[in-house]
């Protein structure tokens, strides 16, 4: 099976539903063979974006191009995009084989070729031997694989995955995530993945586009999104975080609201207001020391999660390697963080 990898260029998409702007000037470039995740809370416009790309929804303005060709006006049937739906949308009256064969039949592929390609696709998702079953006779994970096989069997130019793992339990979800990743790499298939689960986004993606209120907040690699979020929304939405605001008082120093002086690397000018992000797991050694009292402590297996009320009025979430006794509430502690580990935006 050979993918006809294509690149996707979305420009200036606008879509309003009454007063609400579901898409408010969305532009996005996806490179050939890349897996890009669109991450956002519900109502952020990510599903609308997917529907516009797939052709199920018509944008008020903007264009969608695949390999430079404008497909904005094409009906979904002629876009050659494979799609895995949230609830899989398997045809309940057709067997697994007939489901997977469906897109090939719609393209009038010769019978013999359909047979070989369906068999190949089912083997690829490790479902050889399940041909004659009906979707309802399969487990959730197996249904997912059928949906995946059906979406790739016709060598689409683009694969769209709409929150496909939402209905699976945690363990199965992780297996399927890795499997999708493996398949996507192997086929070199340009893929857009939609999710509201930031952990899933970090595991799967080459790049992540974080969306909120119909706009793209940041498009970057996974590490960049986590380490250097562009704004407060991204910092807050991706990963656990301690976020504060402050003013630059001198190079390398930010005074937080409430008076605390923080040593941090930044490129701001004196007097400029900036946001400060400290990831809970980055606390360890460093020149910024916080003294305080443990308010709440949770054992998480690999780590302790502590909520600390600092003497200077700040409240911090801190993760520490789980070693020794879980600190009791009321215990006095000192935690510190290196200026290099503080992200300023």
């Amino acid at each position: 099976m050979q993918a006809r990898s294509a690149d996707l260029k979305v420009q200036g998409l606008e879509k309003r539903f009454g007063e609400v702007a579901a898409l408010d000037g969305v532009s996005l470039d996806i490179m050939s063979g890349e897996l890009l995740t669109i991450l956002g809370p519900s109502g952020s416009g990510k599903t609308t974006l997917l529907k516009v790309v797939a052709g199920f929804e018509k944008a008020d303005a903007g264009t969608v191009r695949i390999d430079g060709i404008d497909i904005t006006a094409l009906p979904p049937a002629r876009r050659d995009i494979g799609m895995v739906f949230q609830n899989y949308a398997l045809f309940p009256h057709l067997t697994v084989r007939a489901n997977v064969a469906f897109p090939l039949e719609m393209r009038n592929v010769a019978r013999a070729e359909i047979e070989t390609r369906v068999t190949e696709a089912l083997q690829l998702v490790e479902l050889g031997g399940y041909d004659k079953r009906l979707p309802k006779q399969l487990s959730g994970g197996q249904q997912q694989r059928v949906a995946l096989a059906r979406a790739i069997v016709f060598n689409p130019r683009l694969l769209l995955l709409d929150e496909p793992f939402g209905a699976l339990d945690r363990k199965l979800r992780e297996t399927m995530q890795l499997e999708v990743r493996r398949l996507q790499r192997r086929l070199g298939l340009t893929t857009i993945f939609i999710t509201h689960d930031q952990e899933e986004a970090l595991v799967l993606s080459d790049r992540i586009a974080v969306m909120n209120q119909g706009r793209i907040q940041q498009v970057a690699t996974t590490t960049e999104i986590y380490e250097r979020p562009a704004n407060r929304f991204v910092a807050d939405f991706v990963g656990e975080s301690n976020i504060f605001h402050g003013t630059v008082t001198e190079p390398g120093v930010i005074s937080l609201e409430g008076g605390r002086r923080l040593l941090a690397r930044h490129s701001g000018k004196t007097g400029q207001r900036m946001g400060v992000l400290m990831r809970p797991e980055r606390f360890g050694r460093g020149t910024n020391v916080f003294a305080g009292e443990v308010k709440e402590a949770v054992y998480l297996g690999v780590s302790f999660k502590l909520r600390i009320a600092c003497d200077d009025g700040l409240e911090l979430i801190v993760r520490q390697p789980a070693r020794g006794e879980l600190p009791a509430a009321g215990t006095r502690v000192n935690v510190s963080i290196d200026p290099e580990d503080i992200h300023v935006f």
Partner: protein, 275 residues
């Protein structure tokens, strides 16, 4: 061409063939026939239909029968609908079969069967005579009660189905809550089920009443010519006296009453939903 989103929605086009058939073979003939009643610009046929005692009496009879049929159907239909809605799925399926089987059995078959059961020499009279309970057969056919029994039998399922639906929609947690608060069965019924199933009762009653008004077969066969309802009278005007204008006036009157009851019922339902 593909008109994008608007292409996902259908227009009126697929409805057109059916609409043509309905217009040509239903609306047009009905309107035209009703027009006979005022041919020559006179309302004399209406005056006759609603003014002369004999004919007015038929209308009143019809209403009286419809009223009693509705009342009896309600009394019999509520327990049945209630039981169907609150029993186990297995019993409910069986119960439904026994409601739907009569519903879909020809009215003629059922009417015939009632003649067998209720006749002078029928099953009931024979049995009671032999048991010595009565010395002379009780007349149960060719009179008011015969028509009533036959019509209730035909219309009872129309009452059971909406009541069943209404009871099903009652939130079971409301009932458990009432039980938890120590309410008796009678109280739960009066305070929870009855008010919540009122729309179902109302819907069933309207359907049964309106269908009763237009009944033909049962009164024609079980009334023995002694219980005349409007539909029977209309048939006689067309088949026996060939008096089309009068038949049309009777039809128009029946139709107006029927539609008025529907319209009132709809308005009532809507305002009770809004409340």
């Amino acid at each position: 061409m593909f008109s994008r989103m608007s292409g996902r929605l259908l227009g009126i086009a697929p409805a057109v063939p059916a609409l043509i058939v309905l217009f040509v073979f239903f609306l047009y003939p009905v309107v035209r026939m009703l027009g006979y009643s005022i041919e020559g610009g006179t309302f004399e046929w209406y005056a006759k239909a609603l003014g002369e005692g004999l004919y007015l009496q038929v209308f009143l009879n019809t209403f009286e029968i419809a009223f009693w049929v509705t009342a009896i159907c309600l009394v019999l239909g509520y327990p049945l609908g209630f039981l169907l809605a609150t029993t186990t799925p297995g019993w409910a399926t069986l119960g439904f079969i026994f409601v739907l089987l009569p519903l879909w059995t020809s009215v003629l078959v059922r009417t015939y069967a009632w003649m067998v059961l209720l006749g002078r020499n029928g099953v009931f009279n024979r049995a009671m005579l032999e048991a010595g309970l009565i010395s002379d057969p009780i007349p149960m056919l060719n009179n008011f009660s015969g028509v009533l029994i036959g019509m209730v039998h035909v219309l009872l399922p129309y009452m059971v189905l909406p009541i069943y639906g209404a009871v099903r929609r009652v939130d079971p947690s409301l009932v458990s809550a009432a039980e938890g608060l120590g309410a008796s069965n009678a109280r739960i019924f009066r305070r929870v089920y009855l008010p919540l199933t009122l729309p179902g009762i109302f819907a069933g009653a309207v359907i049964v009443f309106v269908l009763s008004l237009g009944f033909y077969i049962t009164p024609a066969l079980l009334g023995g010519g002694r219980v005349i309802m409007v539909a029977v009278m209309i048939e006689q005007q067309v088949h026996q006296t060939l008096n089309w204008p009068f038949a049309a006036a009777l039809s128009a009157s029946l139709l107006v009453v029927t539609l008025a009851i529907y319209a009132l019922a709809q308005r009532f339902t809507r305002s009770s939903e809004a409340a």
